[in-house]
């Protein structure tokens, strides 16, 4: 298994390289730049600005310099526990932001990622806590009114977008009932509405996938055998069916967790959460070249890592699969 993981990690290097190269050049060919503003700068000032940010170097040189800054130069993973600074830990320098010259991209990621992680973990918790029982219940009570209720709830969750559900929850619980702040990220109570909103969409998907996975498993021979041997219904579901029934959910969770952990632009905007999702999207609007690259690289890293985790977990859960 270790060899498998090692090989997958090696394969990730060219993937990362293509992502970095593609992003680096694509963003430069988009009209407008970090200093394009409503009030034009004078030619002298523009010259000074380009020199200050080394944007007047040839593009290949800027690219090479940037790649060098990204190359890991040391290995102190424990430094990550003190503020998650990739420069301290691995010598990876994402450089200062163009839009916020006061902050480096490393610092922005270190500041914002924990917030997105917190929101992501809470939402995932909500998603699993709601989605799994709904899905299992629907599958076990297939074609009964319980199934129809559970499936309708899941379908509604998929169809109602977060930018509708979020403001509705705010309207009900913050404005009319006054239980919560309308927006903000101060005390623990401010986590409730955003986690519910973001979690509900994923809960809906998880419910549908769980139902599908379970229906397939419940027709297998080994389940019939278990029943024939007189196992109780609870034992059949939790001891025998759960492992196989959850496989589709696990493969869904890989990319979903990457997305959920690196932040959600919509949720972060609706609830004014200082997370990474807003930086991700706004950096593109601001043409903040270094921040675009930093967030893209981070997101890509998460997806690659979580896909690997999913593959390992699937082999672990499904005896039919092997590492190859």
């Amino acid at each position: 298994m270790l060899r498998y993981i090692g090989r997958r990690l090696l394969e990730a290097i060219p993937v990362m390289f293509v992502i970095i190269t593609g992003t680096f050049f694509m963003q430069r060919f988009v009209p407008g730049g970090p200093f394009t503003a409503e009030k034009a700068v004078t030619p002298e000032v523009e010259r000074n600005l380009l020199a200050y940010y080394h944007l007047n170097d040839p593009l290949w040189k800027q690219y090479a310099d940037y790649l060098w800054d990204l190359t890991p130069k040391r290995f102190h993973p424990f430094a990550l526990t003190q503020g998650f600074d990739l420069k301290e830990a691995f010598g990876i320098d994402f450089r200062p932001s163009f839009k916020y010259p006061n902050r480096t991209v490393n610092e922005i990621i270190a500041d914002k990622l924990p917030v997105s992680l917190e929101l992501g973990v809470l939402s995932l918790g909500v998603a699993l806590a709601v989605g799994l029982p709904l899905g299992v219940l629907a599958a076990v009570k297939r074609n009964s009114w319980i199934d129809y209720v559970c499936s309708s709830v899941a379908m509604t969750g998929i169809c109602v977008p977060t930018f509708v559900l979020g403001p509705l929850l705010v309207l009900a619980f913050a404005i009319h009932l006054g239980w919560f702040n309308a927006s903000g990220w101060y005390g623990p109570i401010d986590r409730v509405l955003p986690s519910l909103t973001l979690g509900s969409v994923y809960a809906a998907y998880i419910a549908r996938l769980t139902r599908g996975g379970f229906l397939e498993v419940l027709h297998q021979d080994y389940i019939r055998t278990a029943r024939a041997k007189g196992a109780s219904e609870a034992r059949v579901i939790f001891r025998h069916a759960l492992r196989g029934g959850l496989l589709p959910v696990v493969s869904f969770l890989g990319p979903a967790v990457a997305g959920i952990l690196t932040g959600s632009f919509v949720i972060e905007t609706i609830f004014q959460i200082p997370g990474l999702g807003r930086e991700f999207v706004n950096s593109a609007f601001n043409r903040d070249y270094t921040l675009i690259l930093g967030t893209v690289i981070l997101y890509a890293g998460f997806i690659i890592a979580l896909n690997l985790v999913v593959d390992v977990v699937q082999v672990w859960m499904n005896p039919k699969l092997k590492f190859e």
């Binding site: 503003a37 009030k39 600005l49 020199a51 010259p101 973990v121 809470l122 200082p274």
Partner: protein, 547 residues
């Protein structure tokens, strides 16, 4: 592999399921943020966007200005009632008869918020910093356009700063020498933070002073000169400023602190205002104006705002090379309808470029003539009833919903009144700016908010070669008048030049003025002393809260 039965993912499920409730369930709303009736005077403001930086020499936007006004004091202030310059850090000043030398006399005992004396040399060193080429300050042009030697120093042809017209003969005297008379210089100093002194000695402790974004602007490091000092800066969350005991006019300041919230969504802002998390919003949803007018008129504010919404015309693209066509398009718009039915926020229709009533100036020029004249002009230009017109494209950016509504309304008016078929194109903000700045457009939506209250602010844009003149229009007489105005013996003569310039703009129509902006926002009735200035700047030292 370890025993799968022991460390099986399914066994972890209950823990995962319970996690959100364990973390989220145990919280209570902290008292300070409950939005109840705080005993302390805390003003909570919506402030649109996360500021780029808090260094007054390295910022440009309005959110930055709002915070900068709290932290950094100005040499000269604006009277909040009529915007005339009144003493700030300078207790008095003299202007030489030729209008080229300004001598400012600083108040005795001025101090930075760390207790260090604030002297005239701080201003000299600050201005030297903003003009240093390596520092690459975007707003350096607010010096280079007027101050003797500043342009040369900023582009590197002059390296000796003592040749630049900025001197401090003694710790309380600052002398600024100009290359040409600039009758509105005091207004610029009062309204534009680039003329504020920055704590150069503190900045030097955090790195080279010509380096952007060193850590001197972080909370704990920043040394202020204004009514407040920086207490907290959490990006994308909030910025908190508290009272500065060293501020020269500290006795007048009533607020204990101001909290700035970077909220970029008007819906969110309005909800936070409704739940009492904000006392004043930055912006307001146009579609909520009617509801507030009906249900909460005491919370809705619609202030006149020194800005104009207009269309730029690229005069190098046919058919707009012909001034008659430009004027025909400008005349064929019903501005009353636009303001009443589309904008609905109390805006004033604009029939000239200059804002009526700014600093006692009102343009006599007026886009009169109406649709009959518009049709006749178009026919004279060879396009009777719009026949033979080449394809025309109107460019706008979708950042504000009303840009599209206005464009659609005008598209319909041009079709109805002139027979002209115009297509609408929407481009993302920076793409739109790039198209406009590189001249890849025919007609483009634009807006301009004045930096300082003077007619010059709108008129100088259309000077030949001005970096913001995206129309490519050029008129020798217009350029001459702009220059003549600066040398005019008195304000009446200066304003007479502006009258002639406004008349040229209305005749030649490189731009189509549409309406003058209003600033719409929600303001809690608790807030007192919030002066409605034309520039949407509200000096915080007059503001207080009624509990």
């Amino acid at each position: 592999m370890s025993d799968p039965r022991f460390f099986h993912p399914i066994r972890l499920l209950p823990a995962v399921l319970l996690l959100p409730f364990l973390v989220a369930g145990c919280g209570r709303r902290p008292a300070a943020e409950a939005g109840g009736a705080p005993a302390r005077q805390i003003l909570r403001m919506g402030n649109s966007a996360e500021p780029q930086d808090l260094d007054p020499q390295n910022i440009q936007g309005v959110p930055e200005l709002n915070i900068s006004m709290a932290l950094f004091d100005t040499l000269v202030e604006m009277d909040p009632h009529d915007l005339h310059p009144v003493p700030g850090q300078a207790e008095s000043w003299t202007i030489s008869p030729d209008g080229l030398t300004y001598t400012f006399h600083l108040r005795p005992g001025l101090r930075w918020s760390d207790g260090e004396p604030l002297t005239a040399d701080d201003f000299v060193q600050s201005y030297r910093r903003i003009l240093t080429p390596a520092f690459a300050a975007e707003y350096a042009y607010l010096f280079t356009s007027f101050v003797r030697g500043a342009k040369e120093y900023n582009d590197g042809t002059l390296t000796d700063f003592s040749q630049v017209g900025i001197h401090a003969p003694d710790p309380r005297t600052l002398v600024v020498s100009l290359k040409q008379p600039t009758p509105f210089l005091l207004k610029i100093i009062a309204c534009d933070y680039v003329w504020d002194a920055v704590p150069v000695k503190t900045i030097a402790r955090f790195g080279p002073i010509d380096q952007k974004g060193s850590h001197w602007t972080r909370a704990g490091n920043l040394v202020a000169s204004g009514p407040f000092l920086l207490k907290e800066w959490t990006p994308n969350k909030r910025i908190v400023v508290t009272r500065n005991p060293y501020y020269w006019d500290a006795a007048r300041v009533k607020l204990d602190s101001i909290e700035f919230y970077p909220i970029d969504d008007q819906n969110v802002e309005e909800r936070m205002f409704r739940t009492g998390q904000l006392d004043v919003t930055y912006d307001f949803l146009p579609n909520k104006i009617d509801t507030y007018r009906r249900d909460h008129p005491e919370e809705l504010r619609i202030d006149a705002w020194l800005g104009i919404y207009y269309y730029n015309i690229n005069v190098t693209k046919p058919p707009f090379t012909d001034a008659r066509v430009r004027r025909a398009f400008a005349l064929a718009i019903d501005r009353d309808e636009l303001v009443k039915d589309v904008m609905r926020g109390g805006q004033t229709p604009a029939y000239a470029v200059s804002y009526p009533g700014v600093s006692g100036y009102a343009p006599r020029a007026h886009l009169t003539g109406g649709i009959a004249e518009a049709r006749q002009l178009l026919a004279e230009a060879g396009y009777p009833e719009g026949r033979g017109l080449p394809p025309i494209e109107l460019l706008y950016n979708p950042n504000q919903e009303y840009n599209r509504s206005v464009a659609e309304a005008i598209q319909a008016m041009w079709r109805k009144n002139l027979g002209a078929a115009v297509t609408l194109t929407s481009q993302e903000w920076k793409v739109y700016l790039d198209s406009m700045q590189t001249g890849h457009y025919q007609i483009a939506r634009a807006g301009w908010i004045a930096d300082y209250p003077d007619p010059n602010v709108f008129l100088e844009i259309y000077e030949t070669g001005n970096g913001n003149n995206y129309t490519k229009w050029s008129n020798a007489e217009y350029d001459r008048l702009l220059h003549e105005a600066l040398h005019a013996p008195d304000e009446a003569a200066r304003y007479e030049c502006y009258q002639k310039m406004d008349a040229i703009l209305v005749r030649e129509c490189p731009v189509i003025p549409l309406f003058y902006y209003t600033k719409t926002y929600a303001l809690s009735p608790r807030v007192q002393g919030w002066w409605p200035t034309l520039l949407d700047q509200h000096p915080y030292k007059y503001v207080s809260l009624k509990n």
